[in-house]
Symmetry: C2
Subunit: 504 residues, 2 copies
């Protein structure tokens, strides 16, 4: 539809008589509360209400109103101003991810992820590239949330130019209300055409069946309130989207149609690894000390203060992830890295989209986060053990690629290592562990069970390489039957990659 046609209704500035509003309000409030409690009791989804609209239409009052009408104890207002110095160090969506409400709960987002897109669209010289990048990040973000249990209701508050002007003038005329008018509000009438066009484009760019926009007529306070309540009530009653059907059309292909053989790409399949590579002890000591010294100097350099680094370690049990990570952290200052061992999610984490826990651990510039297992659990253990439904892990490849793209786009260096061992070496190491009094904790019945699913894990790993080995975050498959070789190889890749980035 033409960008601005959807505003026709709102710009007719409909109103609602006092008596009628009063009756409707009473009914609405009771229904809203009931729906809120039903949702809380089920706790299968959270609700995000995005409050947006042109300036000077009373959005702030609406947030108060929602809190008054519903049970405020289960609502969190998340108001975002311009990003802080801290937030600016992270990907654009970082601060929204951090505050996602748990399932059952409601969040009101004020000054949402739409603020930068709207500003870009309403600028006098709109930059096409930036607009497209923002819009597609937003669509990816919302799609992922909705599919993963976050319902999104997007409200756009709108009125005619005359009504906006009139409202602003009325508030200004009384010294007791003039504070409600912000400088931005006064500019709206002047630039109404531009603002309106920007809004129309934005709504069209980001409207989707998963997270649709609702335009709320805002000239009349009562109308605004009732329409807001109606939209929320509808959303609370809405059954979860049939996302599985949608999700199944995702980018997943069975591994037989692998893309990893194309052109001159490195080998990416576990069967192609040369497991016989070895490094002698004296060579190992020399190279390890040398590489560690280089890494230590790199991370202490001035230039590194601007570089955030994410290291991901995956591999079969007993592949040597932990000991390799310790060889790396030995060269780092404890104040600049975080080693994050990833095991089964906590209840707090289960109540949110699976990527939430990883967003919380992202490094700031000058920091490294080392993930001992990672978001790839979604397409490895969750796939093999059926903790995730096929629709969920199939769409995860794309979600992960988008996630890593957001990290690298914001300047984070992402390095992913798969430590590859053979089944017999795993057996040796399991037996070793069982014999050692201080390693036996590392071996549990679960490890033996996982071992039985070796083939399934290998298939999952190969699919993962096929579908998530991107130019911006490539996989390193590391021959690891010889621990010494693996450690030196990994350190070498890290040092090289940091060198390349610091030289830029």
């Amino acid at each position: 539809m033409p960008d601005t046609l959807r505003f026709a209704d709102a710009e007719s500035d409909p109103s609602i008589p006092k008596d009628e509003a009063k009756a409707q309000e009473a009914e609405l409030r009771a229904a809203l509360l009931k729906a809120q409690y039903d949702r809380l009791a089920k706790a299968d989804r959270s609700l995000l209400i995005v409050v947006a609209g042109i300036d000077g239409v009373g959005k702030g009052g609406t947030v108060n109103l929602i809190n008054e009408w519903m049970d405020a104890r289960h609502i969190r207002t998340m108001a975002f101003g311009p990003p802080s110095d801290e937030a600016q160090q992270y990907p654009f969506l970082w601060r929204y991810w951090r505050q996602l409400p748990a399932k059952g709960r409601t969040g009101i987002v004020f000054g949402s992820w739409y603020a930068p897109l709207f500003d870009a669209l309403a600028s006098k010289n709109p930059k096409r590239g930036k607009i497209e990048r923002l819009a597609s990040s937003i669509c990816d973000f919302e799609t992922l949330l909705v599919r993963d249990g976050v319902q999104i209701l997007k409200l756009w508050y709108h009125l005619s130019r005359d009504a906006q002007k009139e409202r602003t003038a009325m508030l200004l005329s009384d010294p007791e209300t003039s504070w409600m008018v912000r400088p931005e509000d006064r500019l709206v009438a002047k630039n109404f055409k531009r603002v309106r066009r920007a809004a129309g484009t934005m709504l069209n760019l980001t409207d989707s069946s998963l997270a649709p926009w609702h335009v709320i007529p805002s000239a009349d306070e009562r109308m605004r309130a009732i329409a807001t309540g109606d939209s929320i009530l509808q959303a609370l009653h809405d059954p979860p989207h049939k996302v599985s059907a949608l999700a199944a059309t995702g980018p997943w292909r069975p591994s037989s149609e692998s893309a990893s053989q194309e052109g001159g790409r490195r080998l990416r399949r576990l069967t192609q690894v040369d497991y016989s590579v070895k490094l002698a002890e004296n060579e190992y000591d020399d190279q390890l000390a040398h590489l560690r010294g280089r890494l230590a100097r790199q991370v202490r350099s001035k230039a590194f203060e601007k570089l955030p680094v994410v290291l991901v370690f995956e591999g079969h049990d007993a592949a040597g992830k932990g000991s390799t990570i310790r060889r790396i952290t030995h060269a780092l200052d404890a104040r600049q890295f975080r080693a994050v061992p990833v095991s089964a999610p906590s209840p707090e984490e289960l109540a949110r989209p699976y990527l939430w826990r990883f967003w919380r651990e992202l490094p700031a510039p000058g920091e490294l986060t080392i993930f001992d297992r990672s978001w790839y659990g979604r397409v490895l253990v969750e796939r093999v053990e059926r903790f995730a439904r096929p629709a969920e892990w199939r769409r995860a490849y794309q979600e992960i690629n988008q996630f890593e793209r957001q990290l690298t786009d914001s300047g984070i260096l992402v390095l992913k290592f798969w430590l590859a061992i053979t089944k017999d070496v795993q057996l040796e190491r399991f037996r070793d562990r069982e014999r050692s009094p201080f390693k036996s904790f590392k071996i549990t019945p679960e490890d033996w069970r996982n071992r039985e699913k070796w083939a399934a894990y290998t298939v999952a790993a190969n699919d993962m390489f096929d579908l998530t080995d991107t130019s911006y975050a490539p996989w390193h498959v590391v021959s690891s039957n010889d621990k010494r070789h693996a450690r030196v190889y990994v350190l070498e890749q890290i040092v090289k990659a940091i060198d390349t980035r610091l030289a830029q």
Copy 2:
């Protein structure tokens, strides 16, 4: 003891032969793991290991070692450098509070709350006032943590001046290890006497039976490792301190010995409130609009950008806390305030000291946090309903005063309101709520049960006024049988208090 005597052992630089160390290490590692798992299974306490010591003794390596010896999945290394811009906006202890591990878990604190105290003591011109303030904040902080389920093990790594010098020289001589020496490390030998005296004073100032210091001889790497492991093992085996006996000697006095009648102080007891005060509707409308306008202008002023504000609302059920808060938030920009409704703690919150959840919600400069119920729950509902043991709620008065002192010392304006109603007015409001389809959610069987304990709540409230009405964070007891009077009165106090602060 003389400040530096406790270092005599460590400065004899004891060492341990390789074979002996190897045998001990194997035994220690197995025992540490077992103790760690036992602790996890019980989950009654967390363990904080503070790693501190003079520079250049291998503290960083020790952190790696602990992670290697124990199961790193249940350990969190919390390394603090100089505070970020964000952290500087909050009280000194804010960033340590935020990261407290849950019960059962272990945190290694590196660059702890001792860093600023040590710097102050080692400076060429030590400032007595600052040192005392820091030391007493630290003691209060640790006492509270220990009593509330956080065990604290404080390790001070020490060696002789010669050994430190030798270690630094040795590391520097090899290009592959020279990076391990930081500029600070080189200065230690030069200033050894001063550093040593500062350390001695610090340990004496902050040693306590609840959180004692252990000096770890650090010249010999094996000795350092074994001594560290031994200390941790001992701590993990330690039964919880008998803190209840200690706690009972706290500052609590029965309300008959009240201090609130002293001098010209405002009335502070619920029986002394004049419940008949009323405000006519037209006066109310005028005053409300006027005060709201003033508040709105205040919080939008340039000067307010530097002021953080905490508002606390307490009172019997149906006292009007929620509706009063909404009258305030109406004047605020949604981006600058957070309304925090406080109900029963979540599992995540229960696993940590009770003040933890409130530390997480503190405002930055230019922000307001409004608590609808608060930390006073500890001495109100938790006392009356026996969720807290007598020893716990009795010591809470002092803990709360210390907490509020830390807030106000860091520049936060703290205003506390008790909305006082009579028992018959509560009954009226309960009945009103039951009749209203959209207020009935506010009234539950629990409210009726609480009502039966009206007298007990009143006693608890009076004790609270006696013991927490401080000069830096005074209580405002607000006659609230008439909602209009209460709202206007509260707004007035807020506007006045902010005015006073902005004028400073």
